[in-house]
């Protein structure tokens, strides 16, 4: 079975916010097809009644005492930002002018 088309790769890249180039699409489509055909082997395992494991440590609802500890200061939190303004992260305009 053919696993993945160039168009599907382009769609997935958009979903994942990757502005991939045409060259990359050509390369990735072929490579991902090989990888998907190999990993599709998991489908050969009869596992209807097997519960899934998402995690090897069966911990749920881990609690700790509600103790105040120092966190990052505002300057520290902003220290790695590509752009900051008025003590905030600056990003390009999200809404249109008229909004």
């Amino acid at each position: 079975m053919a696993t993945i088309s160039r168009e599907e790769v382009a769609h997935l890249a958009r979903l994942a916010r990757l502005a991939v180039t045409d060259d990359e699409l050509d390369t990735f489509a072929g490579q991902l097809d090989v990888i998907l055909q190999a990993v599709a082997q998991v489908g050969e395992v009869a596992a209807v009644d097997v519960p899934p494991t998402s995690h090897s440590v069966p911990l749920t609802n881990v609690f700790r005492d509600d103790v105040v500890v120092p966190g990052l200061t505002r300057d520290e939190a902003l220290s790695g930002a590509p752009d900051a303004e008025d003590n905030r992260f600056r990003v390009p305009r999200i809404l249109d002018e008229e909004a």
């Binding site: 993945i4 599907e8 790769v9 997935l12 890249a13 958009r14 979903l15 994942a16 916010r17 990757l18 502005a19 991939v20 180039t21 990359e24 390369t27 990735f28 490579q31 991902l32 090989v34 990888i35 998907l36 190999a38 990993v39 599709a40 082997q41 998991v42 489908g43 050969e44 395992v45 596992a47 097997v50 519960p51 899934p52 494991t53 998402s54 995690h55 090897s56 440590v57 911990l59 881990v62 700790r64 990052l72 520290e76 939190a77 220290s79 790695g80 930002a81 590509p82 752009d83 992260f89 990003v91 390009p92 305009r93 999200i94």
Partner: protein
């Protein structure tokens, strides 16, 4: 005169405690070694000479004042660049984090600093720890000290090469599918993946959160155990951290070094007994099992039929988790931002940033994970892979009823030539064939030198049950005591 860089961490610790050496002398010797060989090895992405010398002086000052110091106080260490280090550049091998200086230390960094370990710098790695050769680093590959035309393994090739090239006696790695053990195997060093949850992930730049495990790299089993004991243990900042003390791995390593394995049941995994391994690797594996038997170990064959599905399951689970984890690299809070020229929308800026900042392997895995998690494919891929994970854990549980530890080769092939597998990603993935089952199960595993094949190192992998890390250290140290030490050719 003794070459300080050839000493083990344990020996350095003793000489430092006895004031035969100062921490500044030890740090200087290693920094000079780095200066001398980095042009050939490229193990480091950043060398923190000033920070190392200051930390070393602090240890010397504390000792001069008579303060109590631990067994590794003043011993240098190299740290994989996926661990956050306060104020020291941390890139995870990616352009998207170029120049980022984290505002906080990872928990394991805090513990190492408190123990007086002296950080020399940050080591090279495949971008975001995705790879088996360090060729997927955005900053160029690391070269294997045994043969600089060959790969040092990955993703932690920088840490393993730094240790093998005597640039550092110890290093930190992280192991998601074999990134500590496979580099150890191909560089003739020791690398341990602790029990998942036995070492904190706080401050580890996440790749696959249900698998990522920090651990030690060293030239001897005892050194790895000493470092494991310092970084291990419960951390309330990691909600998957196991709230139990780490077993006494140092005592286990010292017990193993006596060379007595009587009463230890060694499980040979039938499905991994050389299948898919190069002849030289299979031969070294059989010889190391014979050596363990001579030390008194009893051999039982175990069957783990689901292990053959571990590699496909891993290459669904890990990319799925990475596609989610790497969503945080959006050009807003840290790292690179591209296309912010007033003409592009926020979404376009995110797309351009990620396109420019991520390398090809990272993009492939993000796309693969996005596919495996998408509606219509989820049950067949990610859901099914999670069921396989259950079956693999059951295989381990059954095998550990008959055996105390399981053994297998660490990796199917010795260090391969640079560039020989980069054009075919799935050929690269096969390097992890034998290491992945322990990641999916969560139990600890160690790679220890098991001789040479055609002049290149081979590793034996010893796998143990969850929170029985001590068992693998005992067997590893016993093998180490029985085999001649491996010394790489002079660089």
């Amino acid at each position: 005169m003794t070459d300080v860089t050839k000493l083990t961490a344990a020996e350095l610790g003793r000489k430092l405690a006895a004031k035969e050496l100062s921490a500044v002398e030890v740090a200087t010797a290693h920094l000079d070694r780095i200066d001398a060989v980095e042009g050939k090895v490229h193990a480091f992405l950043h060398v923190d000479r000033d920070g190392a010398l200051k930390a070393a002086k602090d240890v010397d000052d504390a000792r001069a004042k008579g303060e109590t110091t631990g067994p590794l106080a003043g011993v240098p260490i190299a740290v994989k660049d996926v661990i956050t280090t306060k104020g020291v550049p941390t890139t995870a091998g990616s352009k998207i984090l170029e120049g980022w200086r984290p505002p906080y230390d990872a928990t394991i960094m805090t513990r190492m600093r408190e123990a007086g370990l002296v950080m020399l710098g940050k080591t090279n790695m495949d971008e975001f720890a995705m790879g088996s050769s360090t060729e997927y680093s955005a900053y160029g590959p690391t070269y294997n000290p045994w043969d600089t035309t060959r790969i040092p393994g990955g993703s932690g090739g920088g840490s393993a090469a730094a240790v093998a090239a005597y640039e550092a006696p110890l290093a930190i790695g992280t192991d998601t599918g074999g990134s500590i053990r496979q580099p150890a195997a191909v560089t003739g060093t020791v690398g341990a993946k602790p029990t998942y949850g036995g070492t904190s992930r706080y401050g580890l730049v996440a790749f696959s959160s249900s698998l990522d495990t920090p651990g030690p790299c060293a030239r001897t089993v005892e050194d790895a155990a000493l470092l494991h004991a310092i970084i291990g243990g419960h951390d309330p900042r990691d909600s998957t951290s196991i709230p139990q003390p780490v077993p006494d791995v140092v005592a286990a390593a010292r017990l193993g070094a006596t060379g007595d394995l009587s009463g230890v049941r060694l499980g040979l995994v039938k499905e991994f007994a050389g299948d898919g391994a190069e002849p030289g690797v299979a031969a070294a594996y059989r010889e190391s099992v014979d050596a363990l038997v001579k030390l008194g170990a009893e051999v039982v064959e175990v069957s783990c039929p689901s292990f053959k599905f571990a590699l496909p399951a891993y290459y669904l689970i890990a990319p799925s988790e990475c596609s989610s984890n790497l969503a945080r690299f959006d050009g807003v809070r840290f790292g690179l931002r591209s296309g912010d020229d007033g003409k592009h929308s926020l979404e376009e800026v995110m797309q351009l940033t990620r396109e420019e900042g991520f390398g090809a392997e990272v993009k492939r895995r993000i796309i693969l994970g996005t596919y495996a998690l998408s509606a219509g494919y989820y049950d067949a891929y990610y859901g099914q892979a999670q069921k396989v994970r259950t079956l693999i854990s059951r295989d381990f549980a059954q095998a550990f009823e008959k055996a105390d530890v399981l053994v297998a080769p660490t990796t199917p092939f010795v260090a391969f030539p640079l560039g020989s597998r980069t054009s075919d990603p799935y050929q690269m993935y096969l390097a992890d064939l034998y290491t992945i089952p322990s990641n999916l199960y969560g139990g600890p595993a160690i790679s220890v030198p098991a001789g040479l094949s055609e002049g290149l190192p081979v590793g034996l992998q010893i796998m143990a049950p969850t929170m029985a890390d001590d068992r693998m250290y005992r067997v590893a140290a016993a093998l180490e005591s029985a085999l001649p030490p491996l010394t790489p050719p002079a660089l």
